[in-house]
């Protein structure tokens, strides 16, 4: 009996402590200086990895990185990327057209994560308003930039086995092609 009473008392004490504690915290905050930043007057520099408007970057040699592999469009949860792949005359696979409907994009960054060529990248630019929803539909010309974004070095085709600008066997970490007609071991 006594035990029970004491437990009730304990609960009550805890309750009071909890209540008082939370009131105390908020009261303390009341006298702190707000941490709000006054946005349009003051623009905080954002980290490079913030997820805003999307760009398509280029290789170190200036050629567009995107190989139109359809991975970003597959992973995009809002299905806002569409494209058509095409073989360029020099054998490079690239996008005949590439479209992002920013009216649907939720800036989740999954496309960037899926991209095997580092072509598609999100930028810190989040101030993105239009007066017509159709203006949110960006085509490849609108998306392409002339730099490598956050990674200036990577060049997918230097790692791939497919011969594009380089001959077979000249890419990074490759042996020269097998001579199938030789008897030498």
């Amino acid at each position: 009996m006594a035990k029970e009473e004491s437990s009730i008392a304990k609960t009550a004490a805890e309750m009071v402590k909890g209540l008082a504690g939370s009131y105390a915290v908020t009261l303390k905050h009341l006298f702190r200086k707000p941490i709000t930043e006054q946005y349009p007057e003051y623009k905080k520099p954002l980290p490079a990895r913030s997820r805003g408007r999307i760009i398509l970057t280029v290789d170190p040699d200036g050629d567009e990185r995107c190989v139109a592999c359809y991975l970003c469009s597959a992973v995009c949860p809002t299905s806002c990327i569409s494209m058509e792949s095409r073989e360029r005359d020099d054998g490079r696979r690239h996008a005949a057209w590439f479209r992002i409907n920013f009216a649907r994009c939720i800036y989740c960054g999954l496309c960037e994560e899926a991209c095997p060529t580092l072509a598609i990248q999100l930028t810190p630019d989040f101030e993105f308003c239009k007066d017509d929803i159709l203006k949110f539909v960006y085509e490849k010309e609108d998306l392409l930039v002339n730099h490598g974004g956050r990674n200036q070095e990577y060049n997918f085709y230097r790692h791939a086995g497919l011969s594009e600008k380089g001959e077979k066997g000249t890419h990074i970490n490759e042996k020269p092609p097998v001579d199938v007609k030789s008897n030498m071991p």
Binding site: V67, A68, C69, Y70, L71, S73, A74, E84, S85, R86, E87, R93, A96, W97, F98, R99, P116, T117, L134, V137, E139, K140, F156, H159, A160, G161, L162, S163, K168, G169, N173, E174, K175, P176, P177, V178, V180, K181
Partner: protein, 827 residues
């Protein structure tokens, strides 16, 4: 039947089943690369390792190499097996290029799947990767050898299964290479299957290069309509364009594979110059306006000149729906029944063939593979029914004897006895075989009586006797013989003769034994729906010339392609008051029609077709139609306007438009068409009960028909010693109508050759691949000649190739005097 336990599940499988297969039946997919149901085991990849816990084998073994046996207990998830498989996949990936994003296999790649399922993610091996040079393998297939994992599937398919030798393995050990000795197009007409069969992206489809990933495609189980066999495919579309055809496994028709014609013919559906807008007197119009115009003018002509003045022309590429609707409207309107076949003899032979087939006689292609003796008459399998050649090859691999009785220089991926005789002689030979066989049968029934030598049924060459006797012996000795009979070059009575022989064999062996090859994908359906006697297009032309026919409604048919006299046809068509064409191809008729009503392809509206063994196969549309996005946008980004209408989307199935033209506006839904079909032929009533995904045969039971056929006489071919008989034939590429429009196939096609026998060629001084000219009334024909000893003498084999003006030859069978053939100076 061995009984074994796999992953704690028990299963009983037939003797000789591999453990990997037994597991698959339980729904357990053991990783594999080299094992393939059609190709069997090779033990090359070591990916299918499982742990045998009890039974005759113990420890880690390759499940594709071991037959299931009683008492086996197998674990696929044993730690040791899993670790082994993880290691194997890591080895396989050691040399694999970093290609997935630019590889067309990605998304449907077995290697990707097994790598992920094997748990291999990060490359640990720091060494360099092996590379290979790639080869040019023709227009169809791209080669990227770096991606090879040495499973040997390709060479096993190409050499063992399909029987061609020009692609195979070279080198040893880690340097094994799969390719040709030197660059060049693959010779096999089944090479396209390499794309399906290679578990990686070494061979990819050039025609659909980079077009889409598997997950983006609209994929529908489909049907090939490029010959009468009706193989099963999977059709894929993207952005309102058909982009890829793959083989689909069908137990009773094509098995796992299809031929290259079926695989690469599809671009006809994407042509930029396909009729997309209705036209009335040369002016673009909406479909509704054009339908109103056609309907009004047809009614007017039927009123003024009688309904008999309106004739319908269809073809065997029309779906059953279209043919049934055309039959219905022609009957109700009193118009002429649709003429489906271009020539009277084709329609006659098809009708005879169809009327002789029944449930007990008909063999499917799969059953054909288990035959032990095959007599093929009047058929060149690779060219007329390509997958038949592959089926015959499988029978051959099981030691079946094959005899081909045909005038052409038949080449096929199997060994056979070629009885090279003229078309006129084939029927006679068949009769003699039948008679000899039945006589022998009668003899053995009445033992001791004197053997009566059969009399020759026709004037036959003496040297044939021994070969015929040989065939009779082999037929008698075989357990499961099959007669394969073509309907193209043979004489009118030959299908009946083949059927007679088959009936006799049925009595003797009690096994189905008759396999006809028909002229087109829906010839069977066309004759089921045709009135008797049917009329062919030549009759229609005659009636136009006599002024009896004033209006022509041509539905998905191109008479210019088949009619032997182009100028006469043009003159006839010019006499017409109304030429209305409904088609999805830019044919010459569409070009000159007063009213053009575009229709949609089978990819856009589906349809039913009956293949040569009476199998009704139905397919759903792959996409909703409309002008491909690519064409609307001119290759750049799609238009930035939004509308509820699909550009070019008003086009409908031919049967729908035909019903509208005839004024039935409320019978255009899918239920009514099933009703119409069932009313036009009772056999189609089952379409209503059987789901589209399943096929069924419309063959009658054996008891339903009169046992003896009517005797048909042959059209006599004028015989003369110094003439060559013209035999017009089909070719793998270039003669079939739809595939002829495919740019891929046009590029891959080789020059058509006209063949004649060495002994006929020598006196004329013609050698192989010389240019010859054939002088005709309608002008000369300049072609390259092929000279062969493996063909009948006295015949000139001319392919109905789209690049040859064979229409100048006039009606067939025709004879050409030697004097008209000469070497041309052209080089």
């Amino acid at each position: 039947m061995p009984r074994l336990v796999i992953d704690d599940l028990q299963i009983e499988v037939p003797e000789g089943t591999k453990v990997i297969e037994a597991a698959e039946r339980l729904g357990i997919m053991i990783p594999r690369f080299c094992y393939h149901k059609a190709l069997g085991s090779a033990g090359a990849c070591r990916m299918c390792a499982v742990k045998f816990i009890h039974g005759p084998f113990k420890g880690l073994q390759m499940s594709c190499m071991i037959d299931a046996q009683d008492g086996m207990v197998v674990s696929t998830t044993d730690e040791e097996a899993v670790a082994f498989r993880r290691q194997v996949i890591e080895w396989l990936m050691m040399n694999h290029p970093h290609d997935c994003p630019v590889c067309d296999e990605g998304g449907q790649c077995l290697l990707q799947d097994e790598t992920v399922s094997g748990g291999h993610g990060l490359r640990r091996y720091p060494g360099r990767k092996r590379t290979y040079h790639d080869q040019y393998l023709g227009e169809f297939i791209a080669h990227e050898m770096n991606r090879c994992i040495h499973c040997y599937r390709c060479s096993r398919f190409y050499q063992d299964f399909a029987g061609y030798r020009d692609l195979g393995p070279m080198q040893i050990a880690n340097r094994v290479y799969f390719g040709r000795f030197r660059d060049g197009p693959l010779e096999s007409p089944f090479a396209g299957n390499l794309v399906d069969i290679c578990p990686t992206g070494v061979y990819t489809d050039r025609s659909s290069r980079y077009k889409a990933r598997r997950w983006d495609l609209q994929r529908v189980p489909f049907l090939c309509i490029h010959c009468s066999l009706g193989c099963s495919t999977v059709a894929s579309a993207r952005y309102r364009e058909v982009v890829r055809i793959e083989a689909r496994f069908n137990e009773s028709v094509n098995g796992h594979f299809i031929c290259d014609r079926g695989r690469f013919a599809y671009p006809y559906a994407n042509l930029a110059d396909r009729p997309r807008r209705a036209r009335v007197d040369g002016e673009d119009a909406s479909l509704a306006e054009a339908v109103r115009a056609a309907s009004g003018r047809l009614d007017q002509i039927s009123m003024n000149a009688g309904p008999d003045a309106v004739a319908l022309v269809a073809s065997d590429r029309c779906s059953l729906e279209t043919l049934a609707v055309l039959k219905r409207i022609s009957r109700e309107k009193g118009w002429r029944h649709p003429a489906v076949f271009p020539r009277p003899d084709l329609e006659h032979k098809t009708r005879r063939a169809v009327s002789r087939l029944d449930r007990r006689l008909a063999v499917s292609m799969r059953e054909l593979e288990s035959a032990d003796f095959i007599l093929a008459v009047g058929i060149d399998p690779v060219h007329e029914a390509p997958m038949l050649a592959l089926a015959l090859r499988q029978a051959f691999r099981e030691d079946a004897g094959i005899v081909v009785m045909d005038p052409r220089p038949v080449s096929a991926p199997f060994d056979f006895d070629h009885v090279a005789i003229a078309p006129a002689e084939i029927g006679g030979c068949l009769s003699r075989i039948t008679e000899a066989l039945s006589a022998l049968q009668a003899d053995s029934a009445a033992q001791g009586k004197e053997t009566r030598r059969p009399e020759a049924a026709g004037p036959l060459r003496a040297d044939l006797d021994s070969r015929i006797a040989g065939i009779v012996e082999r037929l008698r000795g075989s357990r499961n013989p099959v007669i394969v009979c073509g309907t193209d070059i043979v004489r009118d009575s030959t299908p009946d003769r083949a059927a007679d022989l088959a009936r006799l064999l049925l009595q003797l062996k009690a096994r189905p034994c008759l396999f006809f090859v028909l002229p087109g994908p829906n010839s069977f359906g066309a004759v089921l729906l045709a009135e008797s006697p049917g009329r062919s297009f030549s009759d229609v032309v005659q009636d136009i010339e006599q002024g009896k026919v004033k209006a022509l409604l041509v539905v998905e048919s191109d008479p210019f392609k088949n009619f032997p006299d182009r100028e006469r046809l043009e003159r006839a068509l010019d006499r017409l008051d109304l030429l209305a064409a409904m088609d999805y191809l830019p044919t010459s008729v569409v070009g000159r029609a007063h009213i053009v009503l575009p229709t949609c392809t089978v990819f856009e509206c589906g349809g039913s077709f009956i293949n040569q063994e009476g199998r009704v196969q139905r397919v759903e549309p792959v996409h909703e139609g409309g002008i491909p996005v690519h064409q609307v946008s001119g290759g750049g980004h799609p238009p930035r306007v939004f509308s509820h209408e699909v550009p070019g989307g008003e086009i409908e199935a031919a049967w729908r438009t035909a019903l509208e033209v005839a004024g039935y506006t409320n019978a255009r839904d899918n239920l009514s068409i099933l009703k119409i079909m069932a009313e036009e032929h009772p056999g189609f009533a089952r379409c209503r009960d059987i789901p589209t995904s399943r096929s069924f045969r419309v063959l009658p039971d054996a008891g339903d028909r009169p046992p003896v056929c009517e005797e048909t006489g042959d059209r006599a071919a004028p015989e003369a010693a110094d003439t060559l008989e013209v035999v017009l034939v089909d070719r793998f590429f270039g003669t079939e109508e739809l595939s002829g429009y495919s740019p891929v196939i046009q590029n891959a096609d080789s020059e058509p050759l006209v063949f004649l026998h060495v002994r006929d060629a020598e006196p004329l001084g013609i050698a192989h691949s010389d240019w010859i000219s054939i002088a005709l009334e309608g002008g000369g024909l300049e072609v390259r000649a092929g000279v062969s000893a493996q063909m009948a003498e006295g015949v000139l084999v001319i392919p109905r190739h789209r690049l040859l003006e064979w229409q100048k030859l006039g009606p067939v069978p025709a004879q050409i005097p030697f004097g008209r053939i000469s070497r041309a100076g052209k080089e």
